[in-house]
């Protein structure tokens, strides 16, 4: 149905989970301490969190920091690869969009010229 976390009581690794809670667009999302932001989002059943110009949703594609599909804004810093950034308690994650009509996109572009996605 959706991506899911392997249950700790069924995990051959013998996990001893502690929760980690981040907010995603203001909504609290809880994952397992040690997961990346992408891992937390997927384990919460989310598959898409970035939207391209055509409005198509994207999430994890390469999973190892090569494709830059999974970019999110963390604590105001844009274009963080969710698959490579460890989730920390209290991280404020904001999803990103390049849909042209979206006002947030314009302000993001204007504010952060150094962002890796800022070559428009």
């Amino acid at each position: 149905m959706t991506p899911r976390l392997i249950r700790a009581d069924q995990d051959v690794l013998g996990r001893n989970d502690r929760p980690v809670t981040i907010t995603v667009d203001g909504e609290p999302v809880t994952g397992v301490a040690g997961q990346s932001i992408a891992g937390v989002l997927l384990a919460a059943g989310r598959t898409a969190w970035r939207y391209g110009r055509t409005g198509a949703g994207r999430g994890v594609f390469c999973g190892i920091g090569v494709c830059f599909d999974c970019l999110v804004t963390v604590d105001g810093v844009p274009d963080v690869r969710a698959c490579r950034r460890r989730a920390r308690d209290g991280d404020t994650v904001t999803t990103q969009t390049r849909v042209p009509s979206d006002v947030d996109t314009v302000t993001t572009q204007a504010r952060v010229p150094s962002d890796v996605d800022g070559e428009r």
């Binding site: 149905m1 959706t2 991506p3 899911r4 976390l5 392997i6 069924q10 995990d11 051959v12 690794l13 013998g14 996990r15 001893n16 989970d17 502690r18 397992v32 301490a33 040690g34 997961q35 990346s36 992408a38 891992g39 997927l42 384990a43 598959t47 898409a48 391209g52 110009r53 055509t54 198509a56 949703g57 994207r58 999430g59 994890v60 594609f61 390469c62 999973g63 190892i64 920091g65 090569v66 494709c67 830059f68 599909d69 970019l71 963390v74 810093v77 274009d79 963080v80 690869r81 698959c83 490579r84 950034r85 460890r86 010229p113 150094s114 962002d115 890796v116 996605d117 800022g118 070559e119």
Partner: protein, 534 residues
């Protein structure tokens, strides 16, 4: 004392660090992740509190012993969470009025868009020296300075350092090659490597009803890993046909003896798939994915040996995830930045050109592991071990000659792998005009076909293919292949032309981080402090 910098702490890099330490060098081991292991030994971080971290791993005991030896060694400095964002040629003359910095570094425009000036060749590429017979101790040509950022991935305000070395071992590995097909941009379509990494590192199963497709033996461990995570494998599809696999793997089986460990491992995966009654189909692949906002079904089809679709063989399979891999692409930006010459296989794939001792065309710079050819972890360990020893100036010994034989065996294994699992030239036949090729900029096949006759640079600027955040890592080789499929095949000019691997900034760096001054190397190479350094 020789200073060896190793970039990448996967099987190859960790072995290189271990033998370099054994040969008496001071070693700096740089790793982008929080812990060593690379993709092969990817494991949950300590925070998971795993009681049996070895449960999903092959060769964990050897790996753990090597890791502990390296990390606890007094002459080793391990830099986790550290990205190399540039390599600087110390012998390149700095332009007047500009402080010494990375060769093609932070001048105007480059930070916001490093891809635009990819034709700006680093000067050292044009003066690439022949192999240095005197080895890494020579001061004739210095190895590149390694510019790193340490801190949370893509964070602001990471610690910036410039690290000098007498020898550099590049062991940065490879990522999945993934050919596009209609619908491959849908959420739920991931690379085979992503599915593997999510289970091993995050304990997340990407879906419950999964198709694994593509070509190569790596599909087997991915499928086995997903089974272990509780997913149902609808099908495992190897695009190449039995005749091709037999021709590649079957002949001269004694040559495989050097890969002891790899074959039993693969047999174990195959047994796991058989036990779960997973259909493994040869000569068939995923040619389209469909769904509303995420993948819901895939279309599979029988393929001819050249990977053209046999009409009428299309079948639809309901899935909630599909994992695809068509072999691996080496991460060539650092070797190219170091000025290392590339070699091109007959099938068009590029790797770093190395001699039998893993020396690149750039004196003092070694390339090991998947950078030199795709042969898996045993070959990568052998290459790393040989290069690390030689980079540290270690003497020739029987053990070194044994390593050379293992490296040569790895080469033969890579050749077999490539012969058994080629990418069929007719794959672009799967594509439609509205199929996305450049995922970042959402450039479709139609636009690229229209621009196929233009100069590559004009085509790139016009379509924006390859100009997004991934900087053509995913689509670059595909766009090049499409161009040659559409137009007459152009002569390959390697790294000197518009190489899809030339990225002056190897990893993103924020302007604020660039503006902040780099800290001096935390561990001065000489006991005497450098008074020149502020």
């Amino acid at each position: 004392m020789t200073r060896v910098v190793v970039v990448g702490a996967g099987p190859a890099g960790l072995s290189a660090a271990a033998t370099a330490l054994g040969a008496g060098a001071r070693v700096t081991l740089i790793e982008a992740a929080e812990q060593p292991g690379g993709q092969y030994h990817r494991a949950p971080v300590a925070e998971f509190g795993a009681g049996r971290p070895e449960a999903l791993q092959h060769g964990w005991r050897d790996f753990a012993a090597r890791r502990d030896f390296v990390l606890s060694h007094p002459r080793c400095r391990f830099l986790p969470d550290t990205s190399v964002w540039a390599l600087e040629d110390p012998d390149a003359a700095a332009p007047a009025g500009r402080p010494t910095g990375p060769t093609t570094g932070p001048t105007t425009g480059l930070v916001a868009d490093p891809g635009r000036r990819r034709t700006d060749r680093p000067t050292h590429l044009d003066v690439a020296a022949p192999h240095d017979p005197t080895g890494p101790g020579s001061t004739a040509v210095r190895v590149p300075v390694v510019h790193v950022l340490t801190g949370p991935a893509d964070g602001a305000g990471r610690r910036r350092q410039a690290i000098e070395a007498d020898a550099l071992v590049l062991a940065v590995g490879a990522h999945d090659t993934m050919l596009p097909f209609p619908g491959w941009e849908l959420p739920g379509v991931v690379t085979a490597g992503a599915a593997q990494a999510l289970v091993k590192g995050e304990r997340v199963a990407i879906g419950d009803a999964v198709v694994v497709a593509g070509t190569g033996p790596f599909l087997l461990p991915v499928a086995a890993t997903l089974l272990g995570a509780g997913s149902t494998l609808r099908q495992v599809l190897e695009a190449n046909r039995p005749g091709r696999l037999a021709a590649g793997w079957g002949s001269r089986p004694w040559q495989l003896a050097g890969q002891a460990g790899k074959l039993p491992e693969l047999a174990e995966y195959a047994a796991t798939l058989a036990r779960h009654r997973v259909p493994v189909l040869l000569g068939r692949t995923v040619v389209a994915a469909r769904g509303d906002g995420r993948v819901e079904e895939v279309v599979t089809a029988r393929l001819r040996p050249d990977w053209s679709v046999l009409p009428g063989t299309e079948r639809t399979v309901a899935v909630d995830a599909v994992c695809v891999g068509h072999g691996f692409t080496p991460q060539l930006e650092l070797p190219v930045a170091a000025g290392c010459a590339l070699r091109t296989e007959p099938d068009g794939r590029s790797f770093v050109a190395v001699d039998a001792d893993l020396r690149t065309s750039r004196p003092g710079v070694y390339a090991v592991g998947e950078l030199t050819g795709i042969a898996g972890a045993p070959a990568a360990r052998a290459e790393g071990a040989l290069a690390g020893w030689l980079a540290a100036g270690g003497p020739d010994r029987p053990a070194v000659r044994a390593l050379r034989r293992r490296v040569a065996a790895g080469r033969r294994f890579a050749a077999r792998l490539a012969a058994a699992h080629p990418i069929g030239a007719a794959w672009p036949g799967w594509l439609r005009d509205d199929t996305v090729v450049c995922r970042c900029e959402e450039v479709c096949v139609g636009a690229l076909r229209e621009a196929a006759d233009q100069d590559p640079r004009v085509s790139k600027l016009g379509t924006r293919a390859g100009m997004g955040p991934c900087q053509a890592r995913i689509c670059g080789p595909t766009v090049a292949a499409l161009r040659s499929f559409e137009a007459a095949r152009r002569p390959d000019d390697g790294a000197r032309g518009a190489s899809p691997y030339h990225r002056p900034l190897a990893q993103p760096i924020r302007l604020g981080e660039l503006a902040a001054s780099a800290e001096p190397d935390a561990e001065p190479p000489e006991p005497v402090p450098d008074k020149e350094n502020p």
